[in-house]
């Protein structure tokens, strides 16, 4: 099955002419058709456009030489979260307010993917407006976890994570505000990279929490994450928060064989109520890294529970502002089309920003945000990275989030602090539970330390390549 390939393998096969991009793209489309009735990954499938892009890629591939070198994703079928604007292709953010919205422009991420020669398969399901951690808050029905379709894939980039786990695509794009890449990657057993805030442009991404939003990738391997970041990272005049820092070659960084890292481990991140299998597998993974040469150091971090409060206040405030633009006049439907979760978040944010409450909520939360940033800064004076579980639980069953106004925040407690501080981070699968659900660990690095995060992730991935669980795959 060609769609099983990762990006590196697919590039190799295309280069050696073992198959064409059209064949590879058709294989993905076939797999989508075979599995998507069960999984509900795609909100919009762009079959016709994908085949056209693949044909174009095949003619570029025939040229070989420089074109091939410059176009890092030439002919590679990619699935894109539905909050990235795509020129001429419906972009809903899984929200009925945008049910018929067709953007007249590409987001910077999509523009860069196209320039790199990628083939876009379609738009993946998410929690509406990226508000949630399950895809159950999608206005188009929840996506299912490929490992067990009675369970949720996580979210909000749950469609992209499920698509990778089910081998419907070769690479996928997600976005994270606080956990929306790492947590679904954890629940689906795939690699999810959340870059530093400002490393990848937010231009054209349906705005959610503007001081957190970080576009990134969901992939089958660490190498693929590095490759996609190399394509996406960089300064963008359309997003003033993007850093002017130069973009290193992240794939090149993986070839430096470095293993003398200091890994910080904090008891605060093995919280009460954590699933015992998650705790066990992540602790085992840390010991494996120690055997590979890393040094471990116990550190004490600020209790992540306060991150929930900070995030709830700031994110909902930003949501109320960002979602004020949806008036149904210029595009999309009017405000009566908002579903419950969006209404709750808009109203909470409106309340927090309303007259008389600013100091009590937004200003206070922004100060505690400074405390969290400072806490990480101090930690990174002593350690290179911090390792912790990504999610305190395994993928939860369908229906778990119903009327749980704080569900997402509780489920994202271990990823919110690093998002609040704008740090880099990655989820790596480390094994399966007895019930055959994936378990993930996260590696958190300082801002703009993606190279280091990827190097350690790569070291772990390569060092555990022969583990039995890696041979297993979802039965669909």
């Amino acid at each position: 099955m060609l769609s099983k390939l990762n990006i590196k393998q697919a590039k190799e096969g295309l280069r050696k002419k073992e198959f064409s991009s059209v064949e590879l793209t058709r294989a993905c489309l076939d797999r989508i058709k075979q599995t998507d009735e069960k999984l509900n990954v795609f909100v919009t499938l762009t079959e016709k456009e994908a085949i056209e892009q693949a044909k174009k890629a095949d003619s570029d591939l025939a040229l070989q030489g420089e074109t091939l070198e410059a176009k890092l994703l030439l002919g590679i079928p990619i699935a894109i979260k539905d909050n990235f604007s795509t020129l001429g292709i419906r972009t809903t953010a899984s929200a009925k307010v945008l049910d018929d919205y067709i953007p007249p422009f590409d987001s910077t991420v999509v523009k860069k993917l196209k320039e790199a020669g990628a083939v876009i398969l379609g738009k993946t399901n998410m929690d509406a407006w990226a508000h949630g951690s399950s895809t159950e808050a999608s206005d188009y029905g929840s996506t299912r976890n490929p490992w067990n379709i009675k369970h949720l894939p996580g979210g909000s980039s749950g469609g992209s994570a499920a698509s990778i786990a089910a081998n419907q695509c070769i690479g996928a794009i997600g976005s994270e505000t606080a956990g929306s890449i790492r947590q679904p990657a954890s629940w689906c057993g795939v690699v999810g990279l959340k870059p530093t805030y400002g490393r990848v442009s937010r231009f054209g991404v349906v705005a959610m929490g503007s001081s957190f939003d970080s576009p990134g990738s969901i992939t089958k391997t660490v190498y693929d994450s590095a490759l996609i970041l190399e394509v996406l990272a960089g300064n963008d005049e359309m997003d003033a928060t993007t850093t002017p820092k130069v973009v290193p070659s992240y794939t090149q960084a993986l070839t430096y064989k470095k293993s003398d890292f200091i890994i910080g481990v904090s008891d605060e991140y093995f919280i009460d109520g954590i699933d015992p299998e998650v705790e066990e597998k992540v602790k085992e993974a840390i010991v494996k890294l120690e055997k590979m040469g890393a040094k471990l150091k116990k550190i004490k971090l600020f209790d992540p529970k306060y991150a929930i409060d900070v995030y709830t206040i700031i994110q909902r405030s930003e949501v109320s502002s960002n979602l004020a633009r949806y008036d149904g006049i210029r595009y999309g439907n009017d405000r009566s089309f908002f579903a419950d979760e969006a209404k709750r978040r808009i109203m909470f944010g409106t309340h927090a920003l309303s007259s008389g409450y600013y100091d009590q909520y937004y200003n206070k939360a922004s100060k505690v945000r400074s405390v969290i940033i400072e806490d990480f800064k101090k930690a990174f004076e002593k350690v290179d990275v911090i390792i912790a579980p990504t999610s305190p639980s395994l993928a939860l069953p369908v229906g778990a989030t119903k009327d749980q106004a704080m569900f997402g925040e509780l489920s994202d407690v271990l990823v919110e602090p690093s998002s609040i501080a704008g740090l880099s981070g990655i989820n790596l699968p480390v094994g399966l539970s007895d019930s055959s659900l994936p378990i993930g660990m996260q590696i958190i690095g300082p801002q703009f330390a993606e190279e280091k995060v990827l190097q350690i992730a790569y070291l772990y991935e390569q060092g555990t390549q022969t583990e039995e669980w890696r041979k297993r795959e979802p039965e669909l």
């Binding site: 007249p104 001081s211 709830t312 709750r344 808009i346 909470f348 100060k367 505690v368 405390v371 801002q447």
Partner: protein, 94 residues
Amino acid sequence: MKFDVTHVAKLANLTLSSGEKKKFEKQLQETVEYIEELDEIDVKDIEPTSQVTGLENVLREDEVKPSLSQEDALKNAKSTYNGFFKVKGILDSE
């Protein structure tokens, strides 16, 4: 403190049914109470952060550059008139 859902819905331009009001009031009240634990943190002498990577005053030249055509800008509008967005009257003085 009680969450005033009617007042907030009006500010946010959301129309809620009475059933929704009841449901959201309860849920949002719970959220308000949940985040009260933030009071445990002492933030005396701490400056708030809004931009996490520390960029400041990012400016660009004020130049005219290509942008959406009028046609593209209007393409998604439900109602247009002579190349403009058509909106409902907002003043009801007549």
